[in-house]
């Protein structure tokens, strides 16, 4: 993986939020929340990087800052060699076509007033406004079948779908512009366990078929280790650890990662036994 030229390089990304106290007077200095504190990583073509960390550790903020949905206070993002942070709006629009996003809450990420077809077609209409109506419809129907939805449902509204189906609509919307990278911000966290596996498998199949790169964000390791080539562990906006998925899971270096792993039920008897022994040892020490 590392031999390939990275498709996305993030260098020293920093994001801060100014938090105004309630009833603050205009000249009071706001508190500064450092949500992302200098994160750097590379992502190769066709690779999946899992980003794990507790809720509130800055995963979503990092993802949003990378695609310039929110301003960042420093850092560079190279997309195929070009610095996104110095790009003008017009060039950025071209990049937005190549980087798409999938969101955590499947229902909330779909406009309740639009039909599934209209929702999926939106990125296409944004980037190729001259596409004929029939062509748009044809592509939408194809994609719906591809993500495992019946194309007959094209005129249905989001509230008529289940959570898993809504997430499939979100995936279809992300795919319609033929992106190279999809940022998945906790795409399965809000779904039932049985549905989680289906969606993760769908993403893996699509990735293989289309050669996508994925940034896969989750708050627990069990989901991420399944799909990722490499894993980055975030701890309060800092990288606790980054490495090959297998190494991070089976030979974690940072105490934070070990804690995360211990929080996850592992369906692997040998590892499980080792984990219990480790915990006993820790308790004995304490």
């Amino acid at each position: 993986m590392s031999t390939k030229e990275p498709i996305l390089s993030v260098r020293d990304m920093r994001v801060e939020f100014k938090i105004k106290k309630q009833n603050a007077l205009p000249w009071h200095q706001p508190d500064i929340l450092r949500a992302v504190k200098g994160v750097s990583f590379d992502l190769a073509e066709g690779e999946t990087l899992g980003i794990v960390g507790e809720s509130g550790c800055g995963k979503s903020t990092l993802a949003r800052a990378i695609i310039r949905m929110i301003p960042s206070q420093g850092g560079e993002v190279f997309w195929q060699g070009r610095d996104l942070m110095k790009m003008n709006e017009k060039d950025l629009l071209g990049i937005r076509k190549e980087i798409q996003m999938i969101f955590q809450d499947p229902l909330a990420s779909l406009n309740p007033r639009l039909t599934a077809g209209q929702i999926i077609a939106e990125p296409l209409k944004t980037h190729h406004p001259n596409t004929s109506k029939d062509e748009v419809k044809k592509q939408v129907r194809e994609l719906m079948e591809k993500v495992g939805l019946s194309a007959r449902m094209i005129n249905r509204y989001p509230h008529e779908f289940s959570g898993g189906q809504c997430q499939r609509i979100g995936i279809a919307r992300a795919l319609i512009t033929n992106p190279k990278l999809i940022i998945c911000d906790e795409p399965v966290s809000a779904l039932d366990v049985s549905v989680q596996a289906q969606v993760v498998n769908l993403l893996m199949d699509l990735q293989k078929e289309l050669g996508l790169s994925l940034l896969f964000i989750a708050h627990d390791l069990s989901v991420v280790k399944h799909i990722s080539n490499r894993i980055m562990v975030l701890e309060f906006g800092d990288i606790a650890e980054i490495g090959e998925a297998h190494d991070v899971i089976h030979n974690p270096q940072s105490p934070y990662t070990k804690e995360l792993i211990n929080a996850v039920p592992i369906p692997d008897p040998i590892a499980e036994r080792k984990r219990i022994a480790e915990r006993r040892a820790l308790e004995a020490k304490a």
Binding site: M69, L93, F103, N111, A116, E122, Y157
Partner: protein, 309 residues
């Protein structure tokens, strides 16, 4: 020619299976709930009646609204009472004109002022509020301070001043009412936009690079529709009331035009001569319409927000 019946049937089945399923929009759900609300449905029927009356009433009328019935002039209290025989269904007014035709005319004008006034307020207010809320930051601040300033002006005073300075006309009335009526709407729209702005479907649109104006028109405004519809059903009677009040003061609609407010004023002025019908009929339509709008607004609010009951 032989047709393979079985194959045709199969084809028909397949076609049926491929047919797209029609989705049930949120509004379809709301409509169903609305029609379960009896008060709202009755109000809707009454309101439709008032509308029909205002559009087709002149066809039933025997007299036109300008004709003077010389036969009863001067004896209105004795001869001008409502009657089927002489064609004055609602009686006659002080000048011997047919009150039925006059009420039709007044209804048209009052409804027009109400609906057009509310429409301006809703369109301007919603767009203004949505733009302010979505833009946020300094733009929002400046836009909403302007609303604050406009709202702090005693508007009845300004409206009366406008009518006195620029002359009394329906157009001036529209300008005056239109100038202030959108302020509340813009506040409501802005508040809603602030919550909508952080929804993930708006983020999704931003992430794909949809233009801000498209996001406002496609993602924000349609989701404001529930609030807007409810508010506008309350705004129409408010507009009608304002117009009536101004006309009651004698500053609004001028002869030969008339409105409910103007007619109620006339009717109230002649009450002591025993011509109560001159007050009763315009009052009846005025009250029916206001109540209908309020009940419909109530029904819509319940229908659009089922959690809030």
């Amino acid at each position: 020619m032989m047709v393979d019946v079985q194959k045709m049937e199969q084809l028909a089945d397949n076609l049926a299976a491929q047919e797209e399923v029609v989705g049930r929009s949120l509004f379809a759900d709301a409509r169903r709930r609305f029609f379960k609300n009896k008060a709202a449905v009755v109000s809707l029927i009454l309101l439709c009646g008032v509308f029909l009356f205002s559009t087709f009433g002149h066809m039933i009328a025997v007299w036109s609204n300008e004709e003077i019935d010389w036969g009863i002039l001067g004896q209105i209290a004795e001869l001008g009472a409502p009657s089927i025989e002489n064609g004055h269904y609602f009686g006659a007014d002080e000048l011997g004109r047919d009150l039925f035709a006059r009420v039709v005319q007044g209804t048209q004008i009052s409804l027009m002022v109400g609906i057009i006034g509310a429409l301006i307020a809703v369109v301007v207010g919603t767009l203004y509020g949505a733009i302010a809320g979505y833009s946020g930051g300094k733009v929002d601040n400046v836009m909403m301070r302007i609303v604050d300033i406009l709202q702090s002006i005693p508007y009845m005073f300004v409206l009366i001043l406008l009518l006195v300075v620029f002359g009394r006309s329906i157009f001036m009335l529209f300008v005056g009412i239109g100038l202030i009526s959108w302020l509340d709407m813009s506040r409501i729209a802005r508040g809603q936009t602030l919550t909508l702005k952080n929804k993930e479907f708006v983020e999704a649109a931003i992430a794909t690079g949809v233009k801000p104006i498209t996001i406002i028109l496609r993602h924000i405004v349609p989701n404001l529709l529930g609030v807007v519809v409810v508010y506008s059903t309350l705004l129409v009677p408010q507009m009608i009331l304002t117009e009536s009040f101004i006309s009651f003061l004698g500053l609004g609609v001028q002869e030969p035009n008339t409105s409910w407010g103007a007619m109620i004023a006339e009717g109230a002025g002649t009450m002591q001569y025993g011509t109560l019908w001159q007050l009763a009929f315009p009052m009846f339509f005025f009250i029916i319409t206001l109540f209908s709008f309020f009940f419909i607004g109530d029904g819509l609010r319940d229908a659009l927000d089922p959690k809030d009951r």
